[in-house]
Amino acid sequence: MSLILALLTTLVTLAAVWQIVAEKAAPFHIASLLISAGALGAFLTTDLFFIYAFHELALIPTFLMIALHGHGDPANRRAVAWKTTIYLGVGSLVLLAGLAALVLNFSEGPVMSFDLTSLLQKTSSVPAATQEWIYFTLLIGFGTLVSLFPFHSWAAPAYATAPTSVAMLHAGVLKKFGLYGLLRIAQPLLPLGAQAEWVQNALLLMLLGNILVMGFVTLHQSRLDDMLANSSVMHMGYVFLGIAAGTELASRVPSC
């Protein structure tokens, strides 16, 4: 899965930097390359700390580019940048809390391990109740990054306002980080949490919000860029539906 996403990242990066035609293009190229580096780092490392840190590295240029070089009037793009920053900042904090709880509960003795491979070997020793609430915290954290309903309202205006190269990289690559985190970290490490009935019910309610509410919002749009931005949020509902299905096929993680 990591290699597939890394391949996607390099392809989208090439397309994103290729289409930059702005007169003063350096900030657009620098931002695109930093987002690409952050995404590649998050997908290719197996250390939880670096996965989180690289994702944050990719988010910072996104906020700056929306505020400084986004489409529309300056007041509107600054408002959108702030909204995106607050939503994703709070989502990242919830994610950080979930990852910290994960590492603390999986550690034995004073030595803490952030290595995904060694954490996977300790899965069975964590009680079901603990797995449930850590999984739910990670679901909210990763879900906010993926624009899971009701934490989705930052996404559509951000994609419509961001410079094209940044929108390409964020919607095409960085958004997949939340799904990658759920499939690579939360599902294999916390299998009992993922199977808990109340967690499944909460996830179903949220993904139905993505599919139905955002589906109707998409149909109501009259501008193509707003329609595409909202439909990308709606599509996340179907991806979460696959995760919620909980079958082996739906949550299968390729070994690469």
Binding site: H29, S32, T45
Partner: protein
């Protein structure tokens, strides 16, 4: 330095080079292309081995 470390740090180095005055478009295109070749090569090798 492993190929994966190069893939991660090449865009950062390219961004730094552009910030220091290197031509933006050729530098970023070259970095993106090298990354694509490395990742594509790794994917090809893994698929051939599987």
């Amino acid at each position: 330095m492993s190929p994966l470390e190069i893939v991660i740090f090449l865009p950062i180095a390219a961004a730094l080079a552009i910030w220091l005055g290197a031509p933006a478009r050729p530098t970023s295109l070259l970095a993106a292309l090298i990354n694509l070749v490395i990742i594509g090569g790794i994917a090809f090798v893994l698929m051939a081995a599987a």
